[in-house]
């Protein structure tokens, strides 16, 4: 094949132009990356967030920078680096993140735990579980650690999750009118009541943590080893059955004071039941959800109605489920009625 000189010249020019454009693009990208790395150190979270979004596509190229920032940047830079390293699945980044679990900044520990969860670093589950169980840690850090365990599906850490879920404040006593108060009501004394400062209800600070634990339990119980179950009877040796019982307790307003946790437990029961074909698990979940359908909080009833709709109730419970939905069709809350109608209509 003969190629004339003009053709050769043309090809050379094209190659040079393409090469030049590619080179310039690379140079620009490198400059952009440097700028973003610089912005990552900004005290302004808005600027840094834009940089983080940009760097997500090029974490591989900047992983060394991120690892170094994790080691010696200021607090904000360290947690940002920890967050971004959640997309860099290398040994170096995992090791850096494991070290970061002991960082003095809670924001760094929080993001390091979550990033390890995203990376699937199952070997770090025990370390993360320690973080989750540490009552001295801020709730936000412990919650992130539980999320990480959920992402890792760390079955062997089920005990930690159960412990967190069951570490709940006592249910407040219902306000009952004493006989003495009833007698004084309407009398002259009642018009001038003694000035009593109303005691403020203590804030349930760990509710978000327990909420996350309920969700996590549904994901990790199916993969938990049998040893993780409670010692004793054979039936209770099954971690999934034990999880069903714990979640059943968590939908009980006389046990679990937080409606947010009860709601999460309802959804978790459906997740748990879906992960197994065990009829006993189905039956326990169904009974718990029927019970939750009478919760005084509408949001819990919504979750219960929807979760119940997703289950496959054993034959002997089918009638009870039907009755429960028939009652729920007349519920005061729109979404409960909606879910019940869908269940009744087979939608």
């Amino acid at each position: 094949m003969t190629v004339n000189r003009r053709t050769v010249t043309l090809i050379i020019i094209v190659v040079i132009v393409v090469g030049g454009v590619y080179g310039i693009t690379l140079w620009q990208r490198a400059r952009e990356t440097q700028q973003m790395l610089s912005d990552l150190m900004s005290r302004d979270h808005g600027v840094a967030t834009k940089a983080m979004t940009g760097l997500r596509d090029r974490t591989g190229a900047v992983s060394d920078n991120l690892i170094s920032y994790l080691d010696r940047g200021h607090d904000d830079v360290r947690w940002r680096a920890a967050m971004l390293l959640g997309a860099v699945n290398t040994r170096a980044s995992r090791e850096a993140l494991i070290d970061a679990l002991r960082d003095p900044s809670p924001d760094v520990r929080l993001n390091a735990a979550l990033s390890l969860g995203h990376l699937g670093a199952t070997k770090t589950a025990a370390r993360i579980a320690m973080l989750a169980a540490d009552a001295g840690e801020p709730v936000a850090v412990r919650t992130a650690a539980v999320r990480a365990l959920e992402l890792l599906r760390a079955g062997e850490q089920m005990a930690t999750v159960v412990e967190i879920l069951e570490d709940r404040p006592p249910v407040p006593e219902p306000e009952e009118e004493t006989e003495e108060e009833a007698e004084t009501e309407g009398t002259a004394e009642a018009e001038e009541p003694a000035e009593e400062e109303e005691e403020e209800e203590p804030v349930d600070e760990t509710a978000p943590l327990r909420e996350e634990a309920a969700r996590a339990l549904a994901r990790i119980a199916p993969v938990a080893p049998a040893a993780a179950g409670e010692e004793g009877s054979a039936s209770e040796a099954s971690p999934i059955l034990r999880a069903a019982d714990i979640l059943r307790d968590s939908v009980d307003p006389e046990v679990e004071p937080s409606d947010v946790v009860r709601q999460a437990a309802c959804y978790a029961l459906s997740d748990l039941a879906e992960a197994t074909a065990d009829d006993e698990v189905q039956a326990r979940a169904v009974k718990a959800l029927i019970f939750a359908l009478d919760d005084e909080i509408g949001d819990v009833r919504i979750a219960a109605a929807h979760a119940l709709r997703l289950l496959r109730p054993p034959t002997e419970l089918a009638e009870r489920v039907g009755d429960a939905f028939d009652r729920a069709v007349n519920d005061s809350h729109y979404w409960v009625r909606h879910a019940a109608r869908k269940a009744v209509e087979g939608g």
Partner: protein, 856 residues
């Protein structure tokens, strides 16, 4: 490859591409639904993946809108496992479309991930979508101090909405935001990278943030900014301090009062003094308790009117009576630039301000008097009545109006005489207000109002009558008394007032009407009053009065008229019987009333009377029946079926009765005239014999008779179709003869007026007459044809087209000018100049035309 194969390959490729596009489009449409189904019913891992894809496509918000609660709940819990900044941003955005409990769930998550959520929240705060922006403020306030550094750079952004959110968020964060905000407030000039506009924006946003902060902002204002050497900084701090302190409950604002008084009394900058005054005014009782009133009174003597105005406004807001006198003095001596504020302050002080203000009503300047009057009027307490009564006599209209308006709802007997005098004011607003005030005053005003009924000034009497009518029941007895003892004018107005009162006046007025001991004038007035009530319960006493032979004629006559006004069917027999009343006045009034009476079996009764042998009764019945005829009721009413032919039976008798009256020269003139008029509705060509003798220059009935003949002519000749020859009846012939023979102008006018009523009938004969004869007569013909109007247009145009004589054509043109309808005027406009109507003839014809119109 042969051609066929290549074509097949090409088509296959095209089809594959199209199919791919269709499949892709269908998939993209269904993708969000599939992802939502995964979220609703899928296992946890699938849910997380579905949410991750929605976040990646930036469709999380769009997808969650209107979804069931469980989808929203599960999407949010899956999103918390993803935890990237983009996910957090989209969760903030989704807050605007999810249910309130799910919003709370998102907020809990965002405030429990440490500093990670600040960036996404700050970005959401700057979003172009207001709903997205609105979701960021709450979590940022909860996060608090760590968010300040990211919010401060946004304090001078151009977008007002974003800046407002930044301010309120920083305010909500509170203490941790104070230092950076103070730096902005203390900044005296724009920074190196900041333009003047951005500098101003930052300042005002910082002020807004401090105001939103509330109590924590007070200390930095007092300690750091009020002593600042830059007056603009002090000004801003004064404003913030005032706003913050005013919003605090109970004694929360106390610490602000002393520093504000210091600024008010000591600051060199008048703007700061003014702001301090306004701020103190906003503090209310707290400022009063802490002694702000005297310093504010002191500032009423400030050299700057702006400060005086602000001090006045503040004193008004504080409402301390001690400020009333100084404010009134300021109004009298140095009000320039602060008039409105002084007035407003005095109004707020209220009653204690009236006494100090009263001397201002004598001020030589009308503007001061007006402000004083308006202020007293607005205060509007009982003490304001006397000064306002005095202001009713002010020479300035606006002052009187202000006083009168206020007294409308305020007046009492202390200003009775001023109000009665104000009924004669030249301004309607004043005398109407006085009327309303007197009416509202009620019984105490009655004697004075009765006196005003006899006023020579009709408007005063009218206003008094309206006031009495509104007083109603309590005024009835005095008005009845007044009917008996007042002047004729007063009696008349009393009757009107009683009529306007209505039902409540019926019984006492009826008693007076039937009281034989009362004077005839009073009883007649009582009858008028009863008629004016329009009440059917007045019918019975009025009937009794008409039937009472002992009652004076005047009383019976007024009773008949009153029955006519009430229009109660029960009065029909009485009215018909009244046609035979011994008194002529009563008979005449009854006839007048019956002409318009269509109630009950009136025609039946009249026909019975017509059949009687009593000649006088027959004649009057005939006249009334003629007026009730279909022709008299008018074409329009006939067309809508509102009138039935009532006199069909016996109409011959009516006609002959009327003719007998017409020909009876001994009959009263009014009766003859009524009969002539009646024949216009029931007469026929035979009636012309009776009417013809009246068409003479010597007859006083010539005009009426001519119109009647015209009416008969128009009614007895059936209308013709277009193009058909118009018949000329005997009535037209009669009038044409009279016209031809008439030598006097008056008789020609009389004949012309009758002809003008006949429509098309006399047109051709008149046009024939126009062809010959003297010019002077042609003016008459043109005027009569003009009075006939539209029916003459076509015949005149036709005649003009046929005429060859230029003069005659010109007379036709003159006639068209007289007719003056659109078609005629079109022709006149198109005529060549030399054929235009002769102006002299037009003038002469128009003069006759005008006289004809007067007769018609």
């Amino acid at each position: 490859m042969d051609e066929g194969t290549r074509q097949q390959v090409t088509w296959t490729i095209i089809l594959a591409v199209v199919l791919s596009v269709v499949v892709l489009a269908a998939y993209r449409r269904a993708e969000v639904d599939m992802l939502l189904a995964d979220i609703a019913t899928g296992p946890p891992a699938e849910r997380v993946e579905a949410v991750r894809r929605l976040v990646h496509k930036q469709k999380l918000m769009e997808a969650l809108e209107d979804e069931p609660r469980w989808v929203q709940d599960r999407a949010v819990s899956a999103a918390t496992l993803i935890g990237t900044e983009e996910t957090m941003f989209q969760l903030v955005a989704a807050k605007s479309v999810v249910d309130a409990p799910v919003q709370a769930e998102i907020d809990t998550y965002l405030t429990h991930v440490g500093a990670s959520s600040i960036g996404p929240l700050v970005m959401a705060l700057q979003d172009k979508d207001a709903a997205v922006r609105g979701g960021a403020g709450g979590p940022l306030k909860t996060i608090g101090a760590p968010a300040v550094a990211s919010l401060m750079p946004l304090i001078d952004v151009y977008d007002d909405a974003v800046r407002g959110l930044v301010s309120s968020t920083l305010g909500g964060i509170g203490e941790p935001a104070i230092k950076p905000l103070l730096r902005v407030m203390q900044q005296e000039e724009p920074g190196p990278d900041q333009g003047p506009a951005a500098f101003r924006r930052a300042k005002s946003a910082a002020e807004a943030a401090f105001k939103a902060m509330g109590e924590p902002a007070m200390k930095p204002m007092i300690e750091d900014l009020l002593p600042h050497e830059n007056p603009e900084v002090r000004l801003a701090a004064t404003g913030v301090l005032g706003a913050v302190a005013a919003a605090l409950e109970e004694d929360g604002g106390v610490p602000a009062v002393r520093p504000l008084i210091e600024r008010l009394t000591e600051d060199d900058a008048w703007a700061v003094r003014r702001k301090a005054a306004s701020a103190l005014g906003g503090l209310g009782e707290v400022a009063v308790d802490e002694g702000a009133v005297q310093p504010l009174i002191g500032r009423l003597k400030d050299g700057r009117p702006e400060v005086r105005a602000a001090a006045a406004q503040a004193l008004g807001a504080l409402g301390d009576p001690a400020a009333a006198q100084p404010l009134a003095t300021l109004l009298l001596t140095n009000r320039r630039g602060a008039t409105a504020e002084i007035a407003e302050a005095l109004v707020k002080i209220g009653q204690p301000a009236i006494a100090p203000l009263t001397p201002a009503l004598d001020h030589p300047e009308a503007a001061v008097r007006l402000v004083a009057a308006e202020t007293i009027a607005t205060i509007g307490t009982s003490d304001a009545v006397l000064p306002l009564g005095k202001a009713l006599t002010d020479p300035e209209v606006k002052v009187r109006e202000a006083a009168a308006d206020a007294l409308r709802n305020l007046a009492d007997r202390r200003v009775l005489h001023q109000l009665i005098a104000a009924l004669g004011d030249s301004e309607s607003r004043v005398y109407y207000a006085a009327r309303d005030a007197l009416a509202r005053m009620g019984e105490p005003a009655i004697p004075a109002l009765l006196g005003a009924l006899g006023s020579a000034n009709t408007r005063v009497a009218y206003m008094a009558e309206q006031a009495l009518a509104r007083i109603g029941g309590p005024a009835v007895e005095p008005l009845i008394q007044w009917l008996q003892s007042g002047s004729p004018g007063a009696r008349q107005w009393s009757g009107i007032a009683l009529g306007a009162i209505g039902e409540a006046a019926v019984e006492p007025a009826a008693e007076l009407l039937l009281s034989s001991g009362a004077g005839a004038e009073a009883r007649a007035a009582a009858a008028r009053a009863l008629g004016a009530t329009g009440s059917h319960s007045a019918t019975e006493p009025l009937i009794n009065a008409v039937k009472s032979s002992a009652a004076p004629t005047q009383v019976r006559q007024q009773a008949v008229r009153a029955l006519g006004e009430i229009g109660d069917e029960r009065a029909t027999s009485t009215l018909v019987e009244a046609l035979e009343d011994p008194a002529r006045e009563v008979r005449a009034t009854a006839m007048d009333v019956l002409k318009d009476w269509r109630l009950g079996d009136v025609d039946e009764k009249l026909r019975e009377m017509l059949a009687s042998e009593r000649e006088a009764a027959v004649r009057r019945a005939a006249i009334v029946l003629a007026k009730h005829s279909l022709a008299a009721s008018g074409e329009l009413m006939r067309a809508v079926g509102a009138v039935e032919e009532r006199v069909a039976a016996g109409s011959e008798k009516v006609r002959s009765a009327l003719e007998s009256i017409v020909t009876d020269s001994s009959a009263p003139d009014t009766l003859r005239r009524e009969a002539i008029e009646g024949l216009a509705f029931v007469g026929d060509e035979e009636s012309l014999d009776a009417l013809a003798p009246l068409l003479s220059i010597d007859s006083q009935f010539a005009e009426t008779a001519a119109k009647t003949v015209g009416g008969i002519g128009e009614r007895t000749i059936a209308p013709t179709e277009r193009g058909e020859e118009v018949k000329v009846g005997q009535a037209a012939e009669l009038l044409l003869d009279v016209f031809d023979a008439a030598e006097s102008r008056q008789l020609r006018l009389v004949a012309g007026s009758g002809l003008a009523l006949m429509g098309a009938q006399p047109v051709q004969p008149l046009l024939e007459r126009m062809k010959s004869g003297p010019e002077e007569r042609k003016r008459w013909l043109a005027a009569i044809l003009g009075a006939i109007g539209k029916p003459a247009t076509f015949p005149v145009l036709d005649a003009r087209g046929k005429a060859e004589d230029e003069k005659l054509r010109n007379w036709h043109a003159v006639t068209l000018v007289m007719i003056g309808d659109a078609r005629a005027m079109d022709l006149i406009e198109q005529l060549p100049k030399d054929q235009k109507p002769d102006p002299k003839n037009v003038r002469a014809s128009r003069e006759i035309y005008s006289d004809l119109q007067k007769l018609l």
